[in-house]
Amino acid sequence: MTTSPAFVSNPTIEIAEISKWFGQKVAVSNVSCSFGPGITGLLGPNGAGKTTLLRMMAGLIQPSRGSLSVLGTNPRSDTAVFQKVGLVPEDDAVYGFLTGRRFVEYGAELAGVRNPSSAAAHAITAVGMDDAAGRRIEGYSKGMRQRIKVAGALVNDPEVLYLDEPLNGADPVQRVRLIELFHRLADEGRTVVVSSPVLEEVEKMATRVIAMVDGRLAAAGDSAAIRAAFTDIPYRVRIDADVPRKLGSALLSQDVIRSVEVIDQTIHVQTDDLGNLGRMLPSLAQSLDVRLTLVQPEDLSLESVFRYLVHGR
């Protein structure tokens, strides 16, 4: 029996037919999926329902319909589960007057951590904020605020971690460090859910994605597999060559190629089978004595997948 890629075999979070509406507005509509250990990306346009879903998963709001379980319990009623869940929200909670260290320590105390100051120190080091932890949060840059929020969410060693735009404002080096950190956390067996509109970043963090459009589940699973699921949209590949027309017409005579377009030194090819193209291209080029300087699939990225999901083409 095959299960849909929306579900994992060892779920920590299970979502069954969840809907949430605010008056007339339906924010989340009949979503069923599950999350397990590792990093899962949650994607969607603004207003797609991602933040609402995350909030329900964190137990902050009650679903209008359907059921949700985190680590086996309902996060809304079982507050003990909070000790195992960390949330890094996108909006800025107002803690400006606290120092970074104190903010994290309070979080540790609230979560009932055994040794709050050492847990806080660990979390602060993990996010690279040792130098700045003694300063007040109101003086922090946006990237620093994000990192201290992450520290706050890590301090109770959570099994489940929700990150809403965690890299917002972080500088290039911090971003790489944070992504490494998230990978480490995921490798340790935690369930990490990341929501972000910057798809390049999500690509670096998560192989499994859940995509929402207009409150509904639009796609789920491995991003390459999702792309492959668009069977009526052939792959687009760009090929730069010194004698493009010669190569282009040869390609056109191949069955696996649906269409060929030549613009200056570039050939744009559409094919249903990337593997087939990739295997025959070098020998074809060699036999025609054509020099290839670029071969690049153009729509495998998460951005392209996303575009197809939202716009259908």
């Binding site: 500088d171 300087t293 670029l294 575009r307």
Partner: protein, 291 residues
């Protein structure tokens, strides 16, 4: 334009040509400080700044009449319509009131707010506000536009639209300084890059120069071992990471060699191209250097 050394910036000394210029760095690296100095909003503690040959310190007003600014945060009165406010900012920029209304309408249409332009700015979503901010930055026909995190808060579609708009600004005869911490956006839109790191200048050169490298990057579909062996036999230096190879030849044409090796070994090709050093690579290298 040339800059000099400053407070939150140190010994930043550079000249930048017209075009699409990326200003990159972390928050706190000095990007906003630099922008404010260019606008004459802040005075550097040392050194001098010139924009289009005019001193930003001595003649800030002359500079500002040729420059547009799209700030990062909120800057709109909630109870005014977009058309009204943008038309007002046009007048503030030195346009006669007869022209202002017309231009405000045109510019708002250009950024995709044609239908919403008579609604109050307080009702706008984040994406709409970003577009309106861009509109007020270009309505007075500046020669240079300074964009501070223009895609912030936008979803992937909105980002894409904004980046396309930014690309088109160059077609309208405007130079653009695009300040952002999202390196991918900069790599997609700019021809020249100013990289700041903790208040100091890391790089100031054309993007192409930064990205250029001698290596060719090849991603394979199958086990790379036969291909690696064959390439090395031809004298290449190959670095392998899973199925990704970075191939460097000292002499000869690397592309032809790679093509031939793949044709002969039958290893499938996923992608091929000159390895482009990314801006992220530059920062990481710098980090390792200072450590």
């Amino acid at each position: 334009m040339s800059f000099g050394d400053v407070q939150a910036l140190q010994d930043v000394d550079l000249e930048v040509p017209a075009g699409r210029i990326g200003l990159v760095g972390a928050n706190g690296a000095g990007k906003s400080t630099l922008i404010k100095i260019l606008l004459g909003m802040l005075n550097p503690t040392g050194g001098a700044t010139e924009v289009f040959g005019t001193s930003a310190q001595r003649h800030p007003l002359a500079v500002r009449s040729r420059v547009g600014y799209m700030p990062e945060g909120d800057c709109f009165p909630p109870d005014q319509s977009a058309a009204d406010f943008v038309s007002y900012t046009a007048e503030l920029g030195g346009l006669p009131s007869s022209e202002s209304r017309q231009r405000a309408s045109e510019v708002l249409t250009l950024v995709g707010l044609a239908e919403e332009r008579f609604r109050d700015l307080g009702e706008f979503s984040t994406g709409m506000k970003q577009r309106a901010k861009l509109a007020q930055a270009i309505v007075h026909s500046p020669e240079l536009v300074l964009l501070d995190e223009p895609a912030s808060g936008l979803d992937p579609d909105g980002r894409e639209d904004m980046l396309n708009l930014i690309n088109r600004l160059g077609d309208f005869g405007m130079s653009v300084v695009f300040s952002s911490h999202v390196l991918g956006d900069i790599e997609r839109t700019c021809d020249w890059v100013v990289m700041l790191n903790e208040g100091r200048l890391l790089r100031n050169e054309p993007l192409a120069a930064i990205r250029a490298s001698n290596a060719v990057q090849v991603v394979l579909l199958d086990d790379p071992a036969p291909a690696v062996a064959a390439l090395e036999a031809r004298g290449a230096r190959v670095r392998t990471a899973d199925r990704t190879l970075d191939v460097e030849f000292d002499t000869g044409d690397p592309f032809v060699a790679i093509r031939d090796v793949l044709a002969e070994t039958g290893v499938g090709l996923r992608s091929l191209g000159s390895k482009q050093t990314t801006l992220e690579d530059v920062y990481l290298a710098e980090e390792e250097y200072t450590l």
